[in-house]
């Protein structure tokens, strides 16, 4: 576990350092890059030099950058005239809602589909498989557009854009969650079917268990092992997907912030978003590692 924490810290350090290196390597004067499209006055330039310590040796600059990060100070966006930490804090809520809703949608759809179709008739499995394949291979923004045009424009069931109320969450969560449901559903079904062919499944049936109990008490847990392995991919999809989904559905959130920061060349915000993604990634994969050990006692703790 200590090793695990060490790896996590190393990943965070690498993310911080590489975004810092990106800042240094970017063509042009560092001060210009940090200002981006913001207001450019000698006062602001002086402030940047002071904040980033640009008048000091490079090693000191780098170390003081890390030191500020350790204290949760992400610096200042000179375009938006606000602290980066403050910007992220106001935008993290809607994104958290969206990703959690999408993850819940994806996981529950996957479990339902897998339970309903594992080992069933050829047609049912074939259909489920085809649907999964479509949901995996069609990009989320296309799914989003289709959902919007059907449920918002045609039927008017859900708002077209915004983040007001749970209604506005339904379509974006679906758009983001469907690809996850597709992949996860296939993995879960495969795992269930493999588990149900194992000798222990014969033993369990020979005890008088119903198929339902066999799946619930034995097979599902086996099927979760490969599913948990997918967690890294899963997190990445969610993080990347929010950028497109938030733009498409006109939702506020980190995706929007990242998008605007990149297009507006607001480097301090871009660097902070990179770091935040790394933090989320490390946190989630640590949690899932723990889950893995809880599911499978054969993995040495």
């Amino acid at each position: 576990m200590i090793k695990r924490l060490g790896t996590g810290l190393a990943v965070l350090w690498a993310a911080a350092t590489s975004s810092y290196v990106a800042l240094l390597l970017a063509p042009g004067d560092t001060i210009d890059i940090l200002i981006g499209n913001g207001v450019d006055t000698p006062e602001i330039r002086a402030k940047i030099v002071a904040e980033w310590g640009l008048d000091r040796p490079e090693v000191v600059q780098y170390l003081s950058y890390l030191w500020r990060l350790l204290h949760g100070d992400f610096g200042r966006s000179y375009q938006l005239q606000r602290g980066v930490g403050e910007i992220l804090a106001t935008q993290v809520g809607p994104t958290l809602q969206l990703t959690l809703a999408a993850a819940a949608t994806g996981v529950s759809l996957a479990v339902i589909i897998a339970l309903a179709t594992a080992g069933r008739g050829r047609w049912l499995r074939g259909t489920a498989s085809a649907v999964e394949l479509v949901s995996v291979s069609v990009p989320p923004f296309l799914i989003g557009i289709v959902l919007l045009s059907v449920f918002s424009f045609t039927f008017g069931w859900f708002p077209v854009s915004g983040a007001s109320g749970p209604q506005a969450l339904v379509l974006p969560a679906l758009a983001l969650g469907l690809p996850i449901a597709g992949v996860l559903g296939q993995v879960l079904r495969g795992g269930l079917e493999r588990a149900l062919e194992q000798p222990f499944a014969v033993t369990a049936r020979a005890r008088g268990l119903t198929e339902r109990a066999l799946v619930a008490r034995h097979a599902l847990r086996h099927a979760l092992i490969p599913a948990v392995t997918l967690a890294g991919w899963f997190t990445g999809t969610l993080l990347g997907g929010t950028v497109i989904t938030e733009a498409l559905f006109g939702r506020p959130g980190l995706g929007q912030v990242a998008m605007q920061a990149v297009t507006g060349r607001d480097m301090p915000v871009v660097m902070a978003v990179v770091l935040l993604s790394a933090v989320v990634y490390v946190a989630i994969s640590t949690l899932l590692d723990l889950a893995y050990r809880a599911i499978d006692p054969r993995i040495g703790g």
């Binding site: 080992g119 008739g121 033993t203 020979a206 054969r298």
Partner: protein, 594 residues
């Protein structure tokens, strides 16, 4: 789409129960004629009295139109042990599982009569079958490592049976689990109950599996190869445990490929072949005076002290071994690489020597001060139970592992402790035949390519030589274009032998080469190895857990325990008059025919 279809027929959550429930079709009089050839029914029908727990007549099980059980009649009375013996594909397991309504997905089960505990189960609904499972009959499968759910504790697995059948009130369950573990001889039940299957030894695991099978106090235990993956001493313990249950009044249906295993415990034996019972009778008479040719050939195929020097498959004497040496060194190695020990290699000389080999994995010493020599044309057997270090010895002499201490010489040249570059020219001189050759074959290659691969010859000659080799191991040239997965276990082992022989090695290391094979196939493979040794004078290091096999093939034998050689000598001497207590325990634990 093919994949879907296969996967679909492979499982079938919904159909499984529907499919395996008996159709209850009353088979008409016409079936009697279809069945005339098989020895059946007569005995069973006579025995089928009121006392019979199981009374089945003319059981037929088919999968997608292919009949795998073709008219089996069977009865088991309380307190009786009936054994079904047969090789793989004989239908013995399907027969046994049919008694639980678990013949398998997509199966169709018919019978003229099918009474369990006095009730006609034809037309049973899934829920009715489930009430029988565990309660009327408990199932014990092979290898509890995979037959118990590896993710659940021992207590959860046994407790499940108690819960399903409401054997005891919920609050009494933990206590009952401990009582059951105690009853099957698991020491320190409270600690074991919290453990997972992988934390237990093979013997303890099998005891736990038996505990879960008897938890609902069934009248019948169906044990399908219950000791097959176990060491011989542990096997003896498990058989004793089953015998105790039988003595306590539980009926036992024992399924095995091994006549010797059932000999000690069965009251009656049914011998199955191709879905039919070919012989049936009291255990003693079936073993002592088998009436059917197939039973006789099965008995003859069992390797033992008595079978030494004869072919197992037909009982004819084996050719005498000659000590005629082919080139002791491959051409490419004519410029010696390693330092030569003890002068020029002489013919009919020592080909392999291990001196004081030691090896550890972490703190555990798996090989401890092991020394032996192997001479041309000789077979040295290594017996030992799992964890005795015998496979590590094989890896050390093959140069796949470096010993921590001690050294290996091959053809009296240094072999261990060399850089791989210097060892490579000599690699062809020592070859391995493993238990499961499929693992070491590239599945995309054809048999011909697999055999030709080690040959350093021009393409045309290579092909001709590969065909020669295949013919030598008894595979017609047509097999050269097939893929290993299309072959049976015995054929794959023949390919492995041909491949090992291809570079004309001086030493063959055989690591459990016949352990995964049926006894009649095992007999053919052992015969083949003996013929090859006689023909080429190849030395063999023969590693096996099976004392009978080792006794049959070896000249000398090493007995290993916990990484050490506890006894060694001429094979007759070691097995007839064992000096070390462990050897004695091993020899005593071997199940004997009759």
């Amino acid at each position: 789409m093919t994949t879907f279809r296969e996967e679909h027929t492979g499982t079938g959550l919904s159909e499984r129960e529907v499919g395996t429930s008996l159709s209850g079709r009353d088979v008409g009089a016409g079936l009697g004629g279809r069945d005339a050839g098989s020895v059946r029914a007569v005995v069973s029908d006579a025995v089928a009295s009121d006392a019979a727990l199981v009374s089945v007549a003319d059981l037929r099980v088919s999968f997608g139109g292919t009949e795998v059980v073709r008219g089996v009649s069977l009865s088991v009375a309380a307190g009786e042990c009936v054994a079904i013996v047969g090789e793989s594909g004989s239908g013995k397991s399907v027969t046994a599982r049919s008694l639980l309504g678990l013949a398998g997905p997509g199966s169709r089960v018919d019978a003229r009569s099918f009474d369990l505990s006095g009730r006609d189960v034809r037309g049973f609904r899934p829920a009715e079958w489930r009430r029988l499972r565990g309660r009327f009959a408990g199932l014990v499968l092979q290898d509890a490592l995979v037959s118990l759910d590896p993710l659940r504790t021992v207590a959860a697995e046994i407790g499940e049976v108690l819960a399903v059948h409401q054997v005891v009130p919920r609050v009494r369950r933990p206590e009952r689990v401990l009582e059951l573990l105690d009853a099957v001889g698991v020491p320190d039940p409270a600690a074991r109950a919290r453990q997972h299957p992988h934390q237990l030894s093979g013997g303890l695991r099998q005891r736990v599996l038996i505990a879960s099978a008897i938890a609902a106090e069934p009248k019948l235990i169906i044990a399908d190869e219950p000791t097959t993956a176990l060491d011989v001493t542990v096997q003896a313990q498990i058989l004793r445990l089953l015998a105790e249950r039988k003595a306590a009044g539980t009926a036992l249906l024992l399924i095995s490929h091994d006549l010797a295993v059932v000999a000690s415990i069965a009251d009656r034996i049914l011998v199955m072949k191709d879905g039919r019972v070919v012989e049936e009778g009291p255990a003693r008479s079936v073993l002592a005076s088998p009436a059917h040719d197939y039973t006789r050939s099965l008995l003859a195929a069992v390797p033992s002290a008595a079978s030494r020097g004869t072919r197992l498959s037909d009982g004819t004497p084996l050719p005498r071994r000659t000590l005629r040496s082919s080139e002791p060194f491959p051409d490419r190695a004519s410029t010696p690489s390693g330092p030569l020990l003890g002068g020029e290699p002489s013919l009919s000389a020592q080909v392999l020597a291990a001196t004081a080999l030691s090896m550890s994995y972490g703190p555990r010493r798996v090989v401890d001060d092991v020394s032996f020599t192997l001479h041309e044309g000789e077979t040295l057997g290594i017996v030992g139970e799992s964890g005795s270090g015998k496979t590590t010895v094989a890896r050390l002499v093959l140069g796949l592992l470096e010993p921590e201490a001690g050294q290996v010489t091959l053809h009296q040249r240094q072999w261990s402790g060399l850089p791989e570059r210097e060892r490579r020219p000599m690699r062809q001189r020592i070859q391995l035949i493993s238990q499961n050759p499929l693992d070491s074959f590239d599945p995309r290659h054809t048999v011909g390519r697999l055999v030709a691969e080690p040959l350093a010859l021009p393409r045309r000659e290579r092909r001709a030589r590969a065909l020669d080799l295949l013919e030598r191991v008894g595979l017609p040239a047509a097999y050269a274009t097939r893929h290993p997965r299309e072959l049976s276990g015995g054929q794959r082992q023949r390919v492995a032998i041909a491949r090992a022989l291809a570079p004309r090695p001086g030493v063959l290391v055989c690591d459990e080469p016949v352990s995964a094979l049926d006894v009649s196939i095992q007999a053919q493979v052992l015969d083949l190895l003996a013929e090859i040794q006689a023909e080429y004078g190849t030395a063999m290091l023969f590693i096996s857990h099976d004392l009978g096999v080792v006794h049959h093939v070896s000249d000398r034998v090493l007995v290993m325990k916990d990484g050490r050689v506890v006894e060694e000598g001429e094979v007759e001497q070691v097995f007839q008059q064992p000096r070390h207590p462990y050897t004695r325990a091993l020899v005593d634990a071997v199940p004997r025919l009759g």
